[in-house]
């Protein structure tokens, strides 16, 4: 009972804390969605969708009462919302979730306007607000959204008292000093942080060597979910395939010199490479592709840029009878496909561990490129889980020679998925510069 009474008195603080907690939750969700694959923008939308459903459930609005967001919401003038959105905000002024959802939208629109140069930058808004402090009363009573309401764009005060009427900040001298110290400290930390990110995007030590000729039939292509402190092994892949792996694209998505794209020599004569590299302890799982790109840039002097083009793709979707493999439980460990060419009855097999379908789509193009002559393989299943499975197929050349056995399309069907050629937009990589041989280790 005493605890409840105390909470009643601490209402404002509780609401502020709840606000921070929910913001934290949202950031986590965003990070998680981003890690799973969608774009940053899609992640924000998805996170907001969660918030809206929370808001509709009404759970928090009942228990948190007024959010205190009403004043802050004033910072976003009506022109940043559609009429419908604004009405929603007005109707639910006390609801923390609606407030946060719409301020997020307003933030985005404000940023867009700023980049388009349609509104003054935040710095100049701040300066103008300071100059117009004398006119605060007129600001307060102003109903017209265009009438000096730029003062309301200001973010919530980080220090010092604020004038709630206008949203403008009154900054004491001590506050300014404190702000300067804080800013400098933040900048120092930011420099340290970004320094470590750059460091994390490179392998600690790496060796790139030509593959031995006797290794032609065996290869291993790992996925680039690299655990910190481990060693990244890649065996027996062509330079073009290394680029495919680093950029997560198919063979038909690379444009460059002919010796790279379609080497005029027998398959066994095409140079292949083994890579062994140490992943730094501070690397994040998503750094893998960047580290391989850096390595290619350093050792092969690779320079490239992206373009979007309409091309043929091979889409993987769920089969009619549903998925026939079960998702892995837990994290599972290293992921990748170990391919063994021409085994029993001439069948080639690939044992793939801890792979998502998106990773499988990417790897199919290096496991059996002849089956996908016209474009990349693209995951359309939307499945995020990892799977362990074995693919068994005969090469296209064997089929052309009359051999009997499963095609790569059959191998995918066996997993309960379906591969189909389609037209679609995809990003392509244009290689501007690359050397055929790596620099010395």
């Amino acid at each position: 009972m005493i605890e409840r009474l105390l909470h009643l008195f601490r209402r404002r603080r509780l609401e502020r804390e709840l606000d921070i907690e929910v913001q934290y939750h949202l950031e986590f969700l965003e990070a998680e969605y981003r890690e799973r694959g969608p774009s940053f923008e899609a992640a924000r939308l998805e996170a907001r969708r969660h918030w809206r459903s929370s808001a509709r459930s009404g759970g928090v609005s009942k228990s948190t009462r007024r959010s205190g967001g009403g004043d802050s919401m004033e910072r976003y003038p009506v022109q940043f919302f559609t009429e419908h959105e604004h009405n929603q905000v007005l109707d639910r002024n006390s609801n923390l979730f609606w407030y946060r959802a719409y301020t997020a939208i307003a933030d985005r629109r404000l940023e867009k306007r700023e980049t388009e140069g349609k509104t003054p930058r935040r710095e100049s808004i701040l300066q103008r607000c300071r100059k117009e402090k004398r006119n605060m009363n007129s600001l307060e009573t102003s109903k017209h959204p265009h009438d000096n309401s730029h003062c309301r764009y200001l973010p919530a005060p980080a220090y010092g008292p604020s004038d709630r009427r206008s949203g403008c900040q009154r900054v004491p001298a001590a506050g300014r000093l404190f702000a300067c110290v804080t800013l400098m400290t933040t900048l120092s930390f930011a420099m340290l942080f970004f320094g470590s990110v750059v460091y994390a995007q490179q392998f600690e030590v790496a060796s790139v060597r030509p593959s031995p000729p006797e290794a032609l039939l065996e290869s291993f292509v790992p996925t680039l979910n690299l655990a910190p402190g481990t060693t990244f092994h890649l065996r027996n892949r062509q330079l073009k395939e290394l680029i495919q792996i680093a950029y997560g694209i198919g063979g038909k998505q690379i444009f460059g010199p002919r010796w790279l794209i379609d080497p005029p020599m027998a398959v066994w004569e095409i140079p292949r490479f083994d890579i062994e590299a140490k992943v730094p302890m501070n690397a994040k799982p998503q750094d893998g592709p960047m580290m391989l790109r850096e390595l290619l840039a350093e050792r092969f002097h690779l320079r490239a840029h992206n373009e979007e083009r309409q091309i043929t793709i091979y889409g993987i979707d769920l089969g009619k009878s549903g998925l026939k493999v079960r998702p892995n439980a837990g994290e599972g460990g290293a992921s990748g496909c170990a391919r063994s060419l021409f085994g029993q009855d001439g069948v080639t097999t690939a044992v793939c561990s801890n792979m998502t379908v998106a990773q499988l789509a990417q790897q199919l193009q290096t496991l059996s490129p002849a089956y996908f002559p016209e474009g990349p393989v693209v995951d359309k299943t939307g499945l995020r889980e990892t799977y362990t499975f074995t693919l068994a197929w005969i090469t296209l050349q064997q089929r052309d020679e009359g051999a009997d056995g499963p095609s790569m399309f059959d191998a995918i069907e066996k997993l309960g998925m379906h591969l189909e050629k389609q037209k679609g937009k995809a990003e392509v990589l244009v290689v501007d510069n690359i050397d055929p041989k790596p620099t010395d280790n």
Binding site: H7, Y24, H25, A31, A55, S63, T64
Partner: protein, 110 residues
Amino acid sequence: MSREVLQGTLDLMVLRTLETMGPQHGFGLAKRILQVSEGILDLNQGTLYPALLRLEQRGWIKSRWGVSGNNRQAKFYELTARGRRQIATEAESWARTVALMNRFLRKSEP
């Protein structure tokens, strides 16, 4: 199975999760409950945070601000002694409810 949280079960789920995992922030709790329920209970914030506030007001859990794994300020919740006793009480009550419902749902013997 319905994805709605059955009335009264969320408190026990949160308390039990804190007992198993030790201090956790809200997001960690939501993730764990989602994992244990094998994807059935995806708690939204509108359900979880009021429940945490309620449990704290009842003195079954307490909270403190700390730093999470990704160096963000987060509020960590942990079980109190009263919370532990409450788990025992709630578990017993839940077992009784289950037994009672089973009696109603059991088909009559031939």
